[in-house]
């Protein structure tokens, strides 16, 4: 499933205050571990490999990404509460709270609903995305003060959001087709056997030249990502913590921690009360539902 989660159109002429905040949060909703990428895994090349005893480093990198993707298919739907703790270099903290609901679609991208709870001035704002495997996503923003459902254009975003150290693309770009891959090596990370794969964003608007990803060999779960900026200098490190298994199959991290090495700022993302199989239907993710979702 393609999780393009771009948010840019912003709000209406006068009521924009909310919008930029939203942008900040939108990204949070789509971490790879929230919105599993699944069925669109690109499996071309399998046939070729049968005749070639040696798998190229590119192919091996891609295979690892595909495997990680496929292991999370079929989760159906989920909901979770997120707390984001922003910390600046002086140690001052700001708190954000949102709730996130996802409906997996078999023949299209997932549907995503984000409900904003904190800070209070954006409470009641809701974001809806119909992600698509191909082509731009359809996205709407509900502005409770005006009762307005505003269409927003999906557009590339590389910047930080609201001072958070997460960039929009950190979440959206984990899908298989958004990168090319290069397997680097096996490595033991914190006592775990991992694959280290380098991936290169296909989007020219990306803020990164490359990312180094550590997958644990057993579950193909991402443990760590190093982000390199456009000057190819180490910018940020994202660490996944406390993976837990839900409904006997699907793994989700309890926490994600992003450190910006260049600014000294950090953002901690804490996930609570994951619930799967909520019997969500399309009706819970349509434009009309935005006005009454709580």
């Amino acid at each position: 499933m393609k999780n393009i989660f771009k948010l840019s159109g912003k709000c209406c002429f006068r009521s924009g205050n909310i919008s930029l905040f939203i942008v900040g949060f939108v990204l949070i909703l789509m971490p790879g571990n929230l919105l599993p990428l699944s069925t669109c895994a690109d499996t071309h090349g399998e046939g070729e490999n049968k005749n070639k005893p040696l798998i190229s480093a590119e192919q091996k990198g891609l295979d690892i990404a595909i495997e990680a993707d496929q292991r999370d298919a079929g989760f159906g739907d989920s909901m979770v509460e997120l707390t984001m703790i922003l910390k600046n270099r002086h140690g001052e903290e700001s708190i954000r709270k949102i709730r996130n609901r996802v409906l997996e679609k078999q023949d299209d991208g997932d549907r995503l609903l984000i409900i904003f709870d904190r800070p209070r001035d954006v409470k009641g704002t809701v974001f809806l995305s119909f992600t698509h495997i191909a082509g731009p996503d359809d996205q709407w923003l509900y502005l409770p003060a005006l009762k307005r459902v505003k269409r927003i254009s999906s557009n590339s975003k590389s910047g930080p959001f609201m001072g958070s150290e997460f960039a929009y693309e950190d979440f959206v770009s984990q899908e298989v087709k958004k990168y090319s891959y290069l397997y680097l090596r096996d490595e033991v990370l914190d006592g775990r056997d991992t694959f280290v794969v380098e991936r290169y964003p296909g989007d020219p608007k990306s803020g990164y030249t490359r990312q180094m990803v550590w997958y644990d060999k057993q579950g193909y779960l991402i443990q760590k990502i190093d982000y390199y900026d456009r000057k190819d200098e180490l910018l940020k490190t994202l660490t996944y913590k406390n993976y837990k298994q839900y409904i006997g199959k699907y793994w989700r991290a309890d926490e994600m921690y992003m450190v910006n090495h260049q600014t000294g700022k950090s953002t901690r993302l804490v996930f609570k009360n994951y619930k799967f199989r909520n019997s969500f239907t399309d009706r819970d993710f349509d434009r009309n539902s935005l006005k009454r979702v709580r």
Binding site: G9, F13, R118, P119, R120, L146, S153, G159, R287
Partner: protein, 398 residues
């Protein structure tokens, strides 16, 4: 106590009884302190130069297990200069009953239709709370019964609107008003006056990157004509006159990449000055600047047209609007908006600036300014030519 207030109180009683012993209600809201500073001395005798104001808006929400919900939103503003701006309104007091293929709501509600930014032509269900803000986006609660049918071929909305709300106008001491002020009772075309039952229907759908809406309204117009009359002391007064109209509206929107293309058009009949067509069409483009730590920039351009010839009917008869929005995407959610609406013919227009940022988790500060440009060249804007102002507001959210 008007009918709306009575209805709201009734709703509150119903809820209080129904909720007794069940889960707690959810209460949220905000309180705002604002000061308005006007650059010039007022033009009209009784006007007070600057003003201070306090407003509170709360939202009470309860949902029952069967998903029936009730929302109550009272609003109150106190203004130290303008007694007409000191007002209370039930913004919402509405039951909502959502089902798989339809939704039914009844009570006092608020509805928004449309896609454009400069003005909202198609949006006709709620009356404008004009004393609240010049952008016309603040609305009075509207008594209604609304049935929404969700079909595979789009959404149908049917409205029965049993009670009409008069537009609010500034009092004699308030700035940003006509002269003489509009403070006498309204005149209606309908013999039933505000009790005439109005009807509206709307169809809306999304097809790929297109959003479409078609609507029709039959009832008392939300936008009054203004009659010049004389009171018993032979002083001139302006009286709002509400005619019965039919209005058909279309709103279209298409998203292509970072571009949003928008169109709203209405055709209205029933007014004394003849049938007319009005539209607002334009685009919105958004991009982000990596060098500014990912700040977002939004550009808006729209063209406004109204086929009515008289300048007294609308300010937006042949105008353009350009807007620039900057969102810093920082912790404080800092944001600024600059906009200009200007007439192509005589250059009269409005320049507005609005900037805000969060102050901690629960507070927000906002600075707003309206500057009237070449106002003396426009019959309506001329009333406001000395009313350039700055507004500073601090809001607490709870």
């Amino acid at each position: 106590m008007n009918a709306g207030t009575k209805m709201a109180l009734l709703c509150v009683l119903v809820v209080v009884f129904a909720v007794k012993g069940s889960a707690a209600l959810e209460l949220t809201g905000h309180a705002e302190v604002e000061g308005k500073y006007f650059l010039n001395e007022p033009m009209y005798d009784e006007q007070v130069k600057d003003s201070g104001s306090l407003s509170v808006r709360t939202e009470l929400y309860h949902e029952w297990k069967n998903s029936l919900s009730f929302t109550l939103v009272p609003f109150y503003r106190y203004d130290n200069a303008d007694e007409e701006r000191t007002h209370f309104d039930i913004r919402e007091a509405i039951f909502l009953w959502p089902r798989e293929s339809y939704e039914l709501s009844a009570g006092i509600g608020k509805v928004f239709w449309g896609v454009t930014e400069a003005i909202h032509l198609v949006d006709i269900i709620n009356q404008t709370d004009w004393v609240e803000s010049l952008d016309g986006e603040e609305k009075l609660g509207q008594p209604m019964v609304n049935l929404t049918l969700l079909t595979g071929y789009g959404t149908w909305d049917f409205f029965v609107l049993p009670y009409f709300r008069e537009r609010t106008f500034q009092g004699s001491k308030g700035r940003l008003r006509f002269d003489p002020p509009i403070d006498t009772g309204a005149v209606y075309e309908s013999g039933e006056k505000e009790r005439r039952v109005d009807y509206a229907v709307r169809y809306s759908n999304t097809a790929g990157n297109w959003d479409i809406g078609v609507s029709h309204f039959n009832g008392t117009t939300r936008e009054p004509a203004y009659l010049l009359q004389f009171d018993k002391d032979s002083n001139p007064v302006i009286v709002p006159y509400y005619e019965i109209i039919n209005q058909t509206g279309i709103d279209l929107q298409c998203v292509t990449g970072a571009w949003l293309w928008k169109f709203e058009g209405i055709y209205r009949s029933g007014q004394d000055d003849g049938d007319f067509f009005a539209m607002d069409a334009g685009l919105e483009y958004t991009f982000s600047i990596a060098y500014l730590r990912g700040a977002d920039i939004g550009l808006i351009a729209e063209y406004l047209y109204d086929s009515r010839k008289s300048e007294l009917n609308t300010f937006y008869n042949d105008d353009y609007m350009i807007g620039l929005r900057i969102a810093l995407n920082d912790v404080a959610g800092s944001e600024a908006l600059f906009g200009l609406v200007q007439d192509f013919d005589n250059g009269s227009g409005i320049f507005l600036m609005e900037a805000s940022r969060r102050l901690g988790d629960n507070w927000k500060g906002e600075l707003e300014s309206y500057i009237f440009v070449n106002a003396e060249k426009d019959a309506l804007l001329n009333f406001l030519r000395k009313d350039d102002f700055f507004r500073l507001a601090i809001t607490y959210y709870f």
